[in-house]
């Protein structure tokens, strides 16, 4: 009936498939545009444009791992970004503006969690609604205007959060490195530890696996869900502040473009949309891939239309791959149909199918 084999080599090393894909894509882009991808500048640029996406996708990894979804985070980028920008610029509150910005994101996330866990409205609907609400609030409060944070790079806030620690170096690409990459690495690394080794991470996966089972084994499902969405709100606020500081600008509707890219990054990385299986390492590489594709294709000379096509293609291939990797019966059936029998996938095709093909190599 069920396959007994040990976890295959693919599953043993976390996120190995997506890392391989990333390496292949990188090699491809290096081959197509050596001037761009063999020089350090593109990578130092990624260090200052990808951190917000990575933070968002990490939060989403917990959310999706728990079997839920969050559509609200783009509006947190606008709302918390606004709170931060206006306090930073108009009221010159400096670090207090940062605290306020983070607090606003935590608040939005907490409210989302409350509605989902206590009132019981499915997360899709809840966050769809709150997304409109908070984006609207951001527009109402900001009057639709953008805020330029002129001179922000003088402030300690800017220096510490997105500053260039090697600005005085003589090596020009070193100068570009933004410290936000370090903070992001620390936050994401810590959350990776939580997901894989902490009770909270285990609870998240169990909740994603089955709410009922989780309750039965003593997990306070409601409380953990609230924590998960609050974490998402916090990470979205971090992303908002980094984005706003890096651009030295608050744009009225910033954040909208992140919704689908963040979700796609998580799913490409190997986290299952059904919950119960999540990998932060995979998510990070998913972000790197998504972030790299546009620049890579443009540098190779392909027009913009190709970017979406390629992103979609990679997404589909990844999803199909994960489905087959996850369900041994389907994988065996597919491979048997293609004539492969033997170790990878197993020779025992499900049921009576494939009997004629059974020529076990050994």
């Amino acid at each position: 009936m069920a396959e007994r084999s040990e976890a295959s080599w693919l599953q043993r090393f976390e996120a190995l498939p997506i890392i391989i894909v990333y390496a292949l894509l990188l090699a491809l882009f290096m081959y197509l545009s050596p001037g761009v991808f063999l020089a350090p500048y593109m990578y130092t640029t990624f260090l200052s444009t990808l951190p917000p996406l990575i933070l968002l996708a990490t939060g989403l990894t917990f959310v999706i791992g728990a079997g839920e979804i969050d559509l609200c985070f783009p509006s947190i980028i606008a709302f918390s970004g606004f709170i931060f920008a206006v306090l930073f610029k108009e009221y010159e509150l400096s670090w207090l503006a940062v605290v306020a910005g983070l607090a606003s994101g935590i608040l939005v996330g907490f409210v989302n969690g409350l509605i989902i866990a206590k009132v019981g409205i499915p997360s899709f609907m809840t966050t769809l609604g709150t997304q409109f609400f908070w984006a609207g609030m951001a527009t109402v409060l900001s009057g639709g205007k953008s805020y330029a944070l002129r001179g922000a790079e003088e402030s300690s806030v800017w220096q510490w959060i997105v500053g260039r620690p090697f600005a005085s170096s003589s090596v020009d690409w070193l100068q570009q490195i933004s410290i936000q990459a370090l903070w992001t690495a620390i936050i994401v690394g810590f959350l990776w530890l939580i997901l894989t080794r902490h009770r909270f991470g285990e609870h998240t996966l169990f909740i994603g696996d089955s709410n009922d089972v989780s309750r039965v084994v003593g997990i306070d499902v409601d409380r953990e869900k609230i924590k998960i969405f609050t974490l998402m709100g916090f990470l979205a606020a971090c992303a908002a502040i980094i984005l706003t500081l890096e651009n030295k600008n608050f744009f009225g509707n910033q954040g909208q473009g992140y919704l689908l890219t963040a979700i796609a990054s998580v799913l490409i990385g190997g986290t299952s949309i059904f919950g119960g299986r999540a990998t932060i390492l995979g998510t990070v590489f998913g972000c790197l891939i998504i972030g790299m594709i546009e620049a890579g294709l443009v540098a190779a000379g392909l027009t913009g239309a190709w970017v979406r096509t390629v992103q979609g293609l990679i997404f589909l291939i990844a999803i199909i791959f994960y489905m087959y990797a996850d369900e041994p019966q389907r994988r065996r059936a597919l491979l048997a149909r293609m004539g492969f029998t033997g170790k990878f996938g197993g020779a025992r095709a499900a049921g009576s199918e494939g009997t004629a093909l059974k020529r076990t190599k050994s």
Binding site: A2, E6, H198, E202, D209, D212, V213, S214, R215, G218
Partner: protein
């Protein structure tokens, strides 16, 4: 492996327990005693309240009225919870809901009571080691291709029940509650489950066992408690009735209402 000795007559006693869900009177005036080392079979038709009774027994639901005694000590209904039940050595094995499908066995063994440090970080090495011991010694899986890293989805139905029962026994449960453990299992798997149930009694513990299939429960229970429309209508010694007679009795009950 035997449960800790202490001076008490019954592991769980319910006195005058009522449970309402809104206007629905799910449990009426339940008086039930489970001895220290017996297998009690809980039978009755669909909707009789068997699952609800179990959930009250194990802290999932709080009774609307009545008293609960664990080891002869009264427990306040509003304090009683699943976690407390675990602390009092009462474990439940649900049909479909005891194990998380996609998670590895070692996590399933320890979730909810992880071996963790003060900050909540799990000692994975130790959990896996202990899980391995449980797997081999308590449950007795040897050389069948299952390791502590296997996910539950790779196990057959009977094996899953075995894992869940083994988990309960590892935690030195004095009372193990089984909710329809043989539903949807093939003949060979049912045999495995029934053997596990016998193991519970042989290790000196008590078990309460909801079952639809009268033949299974008749074979292994010391006492049969019949529930009908929220009330306990009779308690029967299996030696006094054959399976056929039991079936007739239940059908007659159903018609009476």
């Amino acid at each position: 492996m035997a449960p800790a000795q202490a001076d008490f007559a019954s592991i769980v006693r319910l006195e005058g327990v009522q449970k309402f869900f809104g206007a629905v009177h799910a449990l009426r005036d339940i008086n039930l005693t489970i001895g220290r080392n017996e297998i009690v079979g809980l039978i009755g038709d669909n909707g009789a309240g068997k699952s609800t009774l179990i959930k009250v027994l194990t802290g999932v639901y709080a009774p609307t009225a009545g008293k609960i005694f664990v080891r002869d000590r009264e427990i306040q209904p509003n304090e009683y919870s699943v976690r407390m039940a675990h602390e009092l050595s009462i474990e439940t094995v649900y049909q479909d809901k005891s194990l998380a499908e996609k998670q590895p066995l070692w996590r399933n063994f320890f979730v909810g009571r992880q071996i963790a440090n003060r900050f909540g970080f799990i000692d994975i090495k130790r959990e896996k080691k202990v899980a391995q011991e449980i797997l081999l010694d308590v449950i007795g899986f040897r050389g069948v291709g299952i390791t502590v890293d296997s996910t539950v989805a790779n196990l057959s139905g009977g094996e899953r029940q075995g894992i869940a029962i083994g988990r309960a026994m590892h935690y030195n449960a004095d009372l193990i509650v089984l909710d329809e453990p043989t539903a949807a299992l093939g003949v060979a798997e049912v045999r495995k489950v029934v053997d596990f149930v016998r193991k519970i009694k042989n290790s000196g513990r008590a078990c309460i066992y909801i079952e639809h299939n009268l033949a299974h429960v008749h074979e292994v229970a010391d006492r049969l408690v019949v529930l009908d429309r929220g009330q306990i209508v009779s308690q029967i010694d299996p030696k006094d009735m054959t399976v056929a007679e039991l079936t007739e009795y239940l059908i007659a009950l159903q018609r009476k209402g």
